[in-house]
């Protein structure tokens, strides 16, 4: 009992002490944020007018940019952070001028050094800075960072590669998605690849044969978004036989965007009732997108499908396919699906 009591007292003291510490921590976190914001504001305030002058493109003689390059010490750090933020908001000549200020400050070189820092935050921020400064010579470094142990750094590296837009990085970005344990989030990869020009179509074709479903999905999605018709054979293959339903749906949508008349057959084949409903619907929408007259009989057949949404999607697709498509709706005029599709089309027309 005595030991119990001592233990109890000890534990209570520890717990209450920890509570007090945590209260201090809350207060300290808040106070630090306040004082830091104040300090930054104070340091930045004399530099703010030239920064705004440069950023707004009113620095015709370069005097303001010159003034910015003089900043030293902590003010320079704070200013550089502000410039990096500004670079996410503006483009054009003012952005180039600001990048020049960063270069004069040595911020780009410092970022290159920071890429091997032990701090995750430093590495991630450095990668972002290199991207925003469009530092094309650092692409190999950023590609390497796609395999970083921290997801924040991988994300930042992909973001930076997207900003730089060098299609040479497309392969590594796509491959990074499927890296075991250290995958690159698909959304970041897709966004980066979006801004890499037309040079990436071959990379996407390879990506559609990747072992990782996420990689295949991103490659299929982008082939559709960017209308890379060279990827059609791979897209057809994915729609036919991919083990992952999401990949198949994505491929159907992509084929709808960039397919040809000969793709009607494959889309129709996957509209049959034995396929998952989500895929059937995606294929019907894709047939409408494709807009080929060959699809009309198959779509007309689907007007009587047991799934009301599929029937309505088929009716909507037919309505968008000119007089022949509209003729195919005859005989189904009383179907709820056809009436709904007609009504919605007329509402859209009236408001356009």
């Amino acid at each position: 009992m005595i030991i119990g009591a001592a233990l109890l007292v000890g534990a209570t003291v520890v717990v209450l002490g920890a509570c007090v510490l945590l209260i201090f921590a809350v207060v300290a976190v808040r106070a630090r944020r306040h004082s830091r914001n104040q300090r930054d504001e104070m340091l930045l305030s004399p530099l703010r007018p030239p920064l705004i002058t440069v950023a707004s493109g009113e620095d015709d003689d370069g005097a303001a940019a010159e003034e910015l390059t003089w900043a030293t010490g902590v003010s320079r750090t704070v200013l550089d952070r502000n410039i990096v933020e500004m670079l996410t908001k503006i483009r054009g000549v003012p952005a180039e001028q600001l990048v020049h200020v960063l270069e004069v400050h040595g911020a780009v070189d410092a970022a290159v050094a920071d890429m091997s820092s032990r701090s995750t935050v430093k590495r991630a921020r450095a990668a972002q800075l290199l991207g925003l400064a469009r530092a094309g010579h650092t692409v190999p470094l950023l590609v390497e960072a796609l395999g970083d142990e921290s997801v924040e750094v991988r994300n930042s590296a992909a973001y930076a590669l997207g900003l730089i837009g060098d299609p040479a990085a497309a392969g590594p970005v796509l491959a990074a998605i499927g890296a075991p344990e250290r995958g690159l989030p698909a959304a970041t990869a897709a966004e980066a690849l979006q801004s890499m020009g037309v040079g990436i179509s071959e990379v996407l074709r390879d990506g559609m044969a990747d072992a990782n479903a996420r990689t295949r999905m991103v490659a299929a999605h982008l082939s559709g978004e960017r209308s890379f018709t060279r990827g059609l054979p791979e897209l057809r293959q994915l729609l036919d036989a991919d083990p992952d339903l999401t990949v198949r749906e994505t491929s159907a949508t992509a084929i709808g965007r960039l397919g040809r008349a000969e793709d009607v057959g494959i889309l129709v084949r996957h509209c049959v009732p034995s396929e998952p409903l989500a895929l059937r619907r995606a294929c019907v929408v894709a047939l409408g997108e494709l807009g080929e007259a060959e699809a009309i009989p198959a779509l007309a057949h689907l007007l009587a499908d047991s799934d009301p949404r599929l029937a309505e999607l088929a009716a909507t697709a037919l309505l968008s396919m000119g007089p022949d498509g509209r003729d195919a709706l005859e005989g189904h005029g009383d179907d709820p699906a056809v009436r709904t599709a007609r009504l919605l089309a007329s509402l859209q027309k009236a408001s356009a």
């Binding site: 705004i52 950023a55 707004s56 493109g57 009113e58 908001k89 503006i90 054009g92």
Partner: protein, 133 residues
């Protein structure tokens, strides 16, 4: 930069700028002021609407995402008010077509996507005012 008002003696054209991002607010204000406009800059949707209602400007530049009321909300209120004809330019980081659609559907006259070029923004503002006249 081209002067917004033809007559230098006339009182300057008043523009309302609303953006919660201080960088953008300051730089748009500076750019437009340099071009001869009288700018009132506010940091959120509610003050934007209050400023608009108190003294309607000749043009408004609204950020889409702001705390409180969004730029779309403010635009909707403007279009429902008696000063519904004031031209409005939306400034937004939303880049998808559907967002641009929403903006125009609610009644925006122009739409500039961030990151943007300040020079282009000025040209658009000038153009909108020329058309509105």
């Amino acid at each position: 930069m081209s002067a917004p008002a033809g007559d230098p003696d006339a009182s300057p054209v008043r523009v309302l700028v609303a953006d919660d991002d201080a960088d953008i607010r300051d730089l748009v204000e500076f750019k437009l002021t340099q071009a001869g406009y009288a700018v009132e800059a506010v940091p959120d949707g509610i003050s934007a609407w209050e400023a608009f209602a108190a003294d309607p400007p000749q043009l408004a530049v609204l950020d889409v995402m702001m705390p409180g009321l969004s730029g779309i909300d403010v635009l909707r209120k403007i279009r429902e008010s008696e000063f519904s004809s004031v031209p409005v330019l939306l400034l937004s980081a939303k880049s998808r077509d559907s967002d641009v659609d929403t903006g125009f559907a609610v009644g925006a006259d122009d739409y500039v996507i961030k990151p943007f070029s300040p020079r282009e923004l000025l040209h658009r503002v000038n153009g909108m005012l020329a058309r509105a006249r």
